[in-house]
């Protein structure tokens, strides 16, 4: 008997893990990815918190074993037809796939930092994002990073900000900031590193240790105050305005490098698919599952599953666990 097809949309860590598990459960997963490589945002990251595992190693683990998974890159979804038999997914390369169960793992996009003009990304020379910094950690090449002596990290850029049209916390940026602050201190031991935060939300196991190390070992200075605006002088030095809210004093400080911790927004294809498949989304734009506690991987429609960051910000391990859970749910659905 031929193995049954299951279409998975989105070839990031989540989609890959769903596909691998479905294969193990005896199906032929069809993994569709928009970009020219599998891996999603994991490809852009250098190390993962809390232990600093190399992102490439994780990605290699995930993509190293795709036997039995039919995967396609550089494909865009043209349309999806729903019938009683399931879904027909038509893609721009002319192919179309039949599936009884459809898994959506479209992930997230990072908040476009230039949308907060007051922080000066793409305007001032030495303002970069968390993604830029990860890239730098890997390549050690970025003209904007020239042996900085004072470095600032701005938490919550495009998160918890009504003016950025995103009220929600992006969950992972605080931990990322603490990780990156420590890493950059490792690279530039003489530098002074500041983290400007509103609330530090370090929620996971041993994340507190990471925080402690950043304080004790690396001497990262945590300032409770949100950066309100940034300016630049003729030498390219940055001036950052914030209030030290614990001391109750406004401060204006000179920095050589500013890192914007851009938050997590629903990916563009999340919006596209929500329209195509009439998947309910919340005010924040992420998919709303049938039941956020009991059935977080299932959409209202039978046969439609979702996992990973298309239902909200998540860490990599959380994403992978959800991917496995989704695979089980698909299996249960198809074996009925």
């Amino acid at each position: 008997m031929a193995k049954e097809n299951v279409v998975v949309i989105g070839g990031g860590p989540c989609g890959i893990e769903v596909a691998r598990n479905l294969r193990d459960l005896g199906y032929t997963p069809i993994l569709l990815e928009q970009q020219s490589e599998l891996g999603g945002h994991l490809r852009l990251w250098d190390r993962l918190f809390p232990e600093g595992v190399e992102a490439r190693k994780v990605l290699k683990e995930l993509t190293g074993d795709l036997k039995g998974v039919k995967w396609f890159t550089d494909v865009n979804i043209e349309s999806i037809e729903k019938s009683r038999k399931g879904y027909t997914v038509n893609v721009d390369t002319g192919m179309s796939f039949q599936t009884k169960a459809l898994v959506v793992t479209t992930g997230f996009k990072l908040f476009p930092a230039e949308n907060k003009q007051e922080y000066g990304y793409n305007i001032y020379e030495r303002v970069i994002t968390n993604a830029d910094l990860e890239q730098y950690f890997h390549t050690r090449k970025d003209p904007r990073i020239q042996n900085p002596k004072t470095i600032g990290f701005v938490h919550c850029v495009g998160s918890r900000d009504e003016k950025a049209c995103n009220r929600q916390c992006s969950k992972v940026c605080c931990a990322t900031a603490v990780k990156q602050a420590s890493e950059i201190k490792e690279l530039f031991p003489d530098a002074i590193v500041y983290c400007f935060y509103m609330d530090l939300r370090l929620f996971g196991r041993s994340y507190e240790d990471m925080y402690l190390t950043a304080q004790r070992k690396y001497g990262v200075r945590f300032i409770r105050g949100r950066v309100s605006e940034v300016s630049e002088d003729i030498d390219g030095k940055l001036f950052v305005k914030a209030e030290d809210t614990l001391l109750g004093k406004p401060m204006k400080m000179k920095l050589d490098l500013l890192v914007l911790m851009t938050g997590i927004l629903p990916g563009d294809s999340t919006k596209q698919l929500s329209e195509m498949l009439k998947i309910q989304t919340g005010e924040d734009g992420f998919f709303t599952p049938r039941d956020t506690i009991l059935e977080p991987c299932m959409a209202k429609d039978g046969g439609l599953f979702m996992a990973g960051t298309c239902t909200g910000p998540k860490t990599i391990p959380e994403t992978l666990s959800e991917a496995r859970a989704a695979a089980i749910q698909v299996h249960k659905y198809l074996s009925k």
Binding site: N115, Q117, E118, G120, I123, Y124, E162, K163, A164, C165, E229, V230, S231, E232
Partner: protein, 600 residues
């Protein structure tokens, strides 16, 4: 023609007569009140303008065009224009010809108010004359005109969209009484004159009615009933008039000379403002125009309803509605009587009291060091949040080789407009004074301003001796015209948004468009220039919160996307910030757009 009755009176004229007497008394008392409320200077100004021939002529022309013909409504929507002018002008002509008839045929009765109105009842036709037939025809003709207007008015109540209006005003009870009695007057007149057409004569409208029910009609008892009804309708209308929107009919006659005399609003419900309040016809054109109408819940706070609350002197609602307003000035722009809602609201805001006063003595010691240059640039408070703007301006200035310096680098003194908008004009004087002294002692010739909000206050409230205040749209356009700033034309399509304070506030519409058309193609917005839609970010509104503003901004962005532009361009940092949150296309500042045309 001869009189039917020697006494020339019948009790049925009483409702009309009483109503007429009531309205006249009310209006005369109102007129005296309004005039007395004016300051001495204003009164003198008004009196002087009444006797100036040029002004007198203007008054007459305005009265004819606005009160009778409703020229502005014709421009807005011909159907709406016809509806109004047919009723107003038609009715006016009926009254005029009624009087002429009386004068010609029974000059001794011309002094009686009711005689020309009920002429057909009191007169009897002896024989056909050309002169008589002419009047029969004229009177029937204008009756037809009025009736057609009434028919349209009825239709408008059901389908306002047909007249280009999405929403119309919710009427008050007195408005309704006025409306229904007005609707009743002319059909009743038609019927009443139909009854007497056999005796007094008539033309193409009234004769057929008479012929239709010949026996019934010629019964004298029935005749009186019909005329009673006509008179009662007139009387009801007159009694309702002072308490309804129809007060605009007499009030506008007072308002026009006041406006032409150049009076200013000094109190929200006295003098000039009161005349305006009573002239508001509650047409509701301002409802659709108001940017707040993007949310249903705000409809009740539009200008037409504010006027109603001012009439009722409901202080709580008046304040709430005033504080909510974005002060974008669009309602004034579309208003048929140009009701100065902005000034009236300003005066309401200025009357609020606060326990915590404001003190700006700390500004005394502030003495910024400013270099000498021809152009002094004032960036304004918001500019530090839109660094691209400052950057682009500096790029353009250096490309044109202009000697310039900035007055508020690293933070300066606020221009004072946000404070004025909050009704605290007195307190704003301290800032105006401080900035004036900084600017005047700088030795600059041009004050360059990139914020529409600041620009308006510099223009309206500052008196800067020997210094030209220029918005950067004006200045850069001038530099380009003079050939000092050279740009290349690209293929980008720009949709230019007129910031409220720059467009409606200061009348600058052409310069930014001219300048932009040198670097790209202008993609018109659906509504622009004087009709441009506020971005929703205005500091004019005091109470609209963040959530309330979102639908306003979204509607405004939609308006800008009308011709599928590549960029939305604005010339105000506040619009820029507000738009960029919700726009699917890139929003850039005016200076940034001009930089697209600079050689890289």
């Amino acid at each position: 023609m001869r009189e039917r009755f020697l006494i020339g009176f019948d009790p049925f004229v009483l409702p009309f007569l009483l109503g007429m007497a009531f309205v006249l008394t009310y209006c005369i008392i109102g007129l005296i009140r309004v005039v007395l409320q004016l300051s001495k200077a204003d009164r003198r100004k008004l009196a002087a303008s009444l006797f100036k021939p040029a002004n007198a002529w203007k008054n007459l022309r305005d009265m004819f065009c606005d009160c009778l013909i409703h020229v502005k409504l014709w421009k807005r929507n011909p159907k709406l224009g016809y509806m109004h002018s047919s009723i107003a002008f038609g009715w006016f002509m009926l009254i005029v010809f009624g009087h002429i008839e009386t004068f010609i045929f029974v000059p001794k009765k011309a002094g009686l108010f009711y005689y020309p109105i009920f002429f057909r009842y009191f007169m009897e036709m002896e024989n056909y004359s050309l002169r008589g037939s002419f009047f029969f025809f004229i009177m029937d003709f204008f009756l037809l005109i009025v009736l057609s207007g009434i028919l349209l008015a009825m239709f408008k109540r059901i389908r306002s969209r047909f007249f280009g209006m999405r929403r119309t005003t919710r009427l008050s009870i007195t408005d309704r009484i006025g409306l229904y009695s007005l609707w009743a007057i002319f059909p009743l007149r038609w019927i009443a004159e139909g009854f007497t057409a056999g005796i007094a004569g008539g033309s193409f409208m009234t004769i057929p009615i008479n012929l239709l029910l010949k026996n019934f009609m010629s019964n004298p008892e029935n005749i009186t009933v019909a005329w009673w009804l006509y008179s009662i309708a007139l009387g009801t209308f007159m009694f309702a008039l002072p308490f309804s929107r129809y007060m605009h009919i007499p009030a506008e006659i007072l308002l026009i000379p006041m406006k032409n005399a150049g009076l200013k609003v000094y109190h929200p419900r006295k003098g000039f403002a009161l005349a305006q309040i009573y002239t508001c016809p509650s047409c509701g054109v301002c409802i659709d125009a108001c940017p707040m109408s993007a949310s249903r819940q705000n409809l009740k706070d539009t200008t037409v309803y504010l006027v109603r609350q001012i009439k009722r002197n409901n202080a709580r609602r008046m304040n709430a509605m005033t504080e909510k307003c974005l002060m974008c000035g669009k309602c004034q722009e579309v208003c048929q009587i140009a009701l100065q809602s902005y000034d009236i609201r300003m005066k309401i805001r200025e009357r609020a009291t606060y326990n915590v006063g404001l003190k700006y003595d700390y500004l005394d010691s502030y003495k910024p060091e400013i270099g000498k240059a021809k152009v002094l640039y004032y960036a304004g408070c918001m500019s530090s949040l839109t660094p691209n703007t400052g950057r682009s301006i500096k790029k353009l200035l250096s490309a044109a080789r202009i000697s310039w310096t900035q007055m508020d680098e690293g933070g300066g003194v606020c221009c004072g407009r946000p404070l004025i908008l909050a009704g605290r004009r007195q307190e704003a004087a301290a800032m105006i004074e401080k900035n004036t002294s900084i600017i005047e002692s700088s030795g600059a010739q041009i004050l360059l301003v990139s914020c529409a909000i600041c620009y308006r206050v510099f223009k309206e409230e500052y008196k800067l001796k020997g210094i030209r205040v220029m918005h950067y749209t004006e200045y850069f356009n001038e530099l380009m015209e003079e050939g000092r700033l050279k740009v290349n034309r690209g293929a980008l399509r720009y949709a230019y948004h007129d910031p409220c304070d720059l467009g409606r506030g200061c009348g600058i519409y052409e310069e930014p468009r001219e300048a932009l058309s040198r670097v790209g193609i202008i993609a018109p917005a659906e509504k622009e220039r004087a009709l441009s839609v506020c971005c929703g970010g205005s500091v004019g509104s005091l109470t609209l919160d963040h959530e309330d503003r979102i639908p306003i901004t979204q509607a405004s962005v939609q308006n800008m996307l009308f011709s599928n532009p590549d960029r939305i361009v604005t010339a105000c940092p506040l619009c820029m910030k507000t738009f960029s949150r919700y726009s699917p296309v890139k929003v850039v500042d005016f200076a940034e757009a001009l930089c697209d045309g600079l050689e890289k």
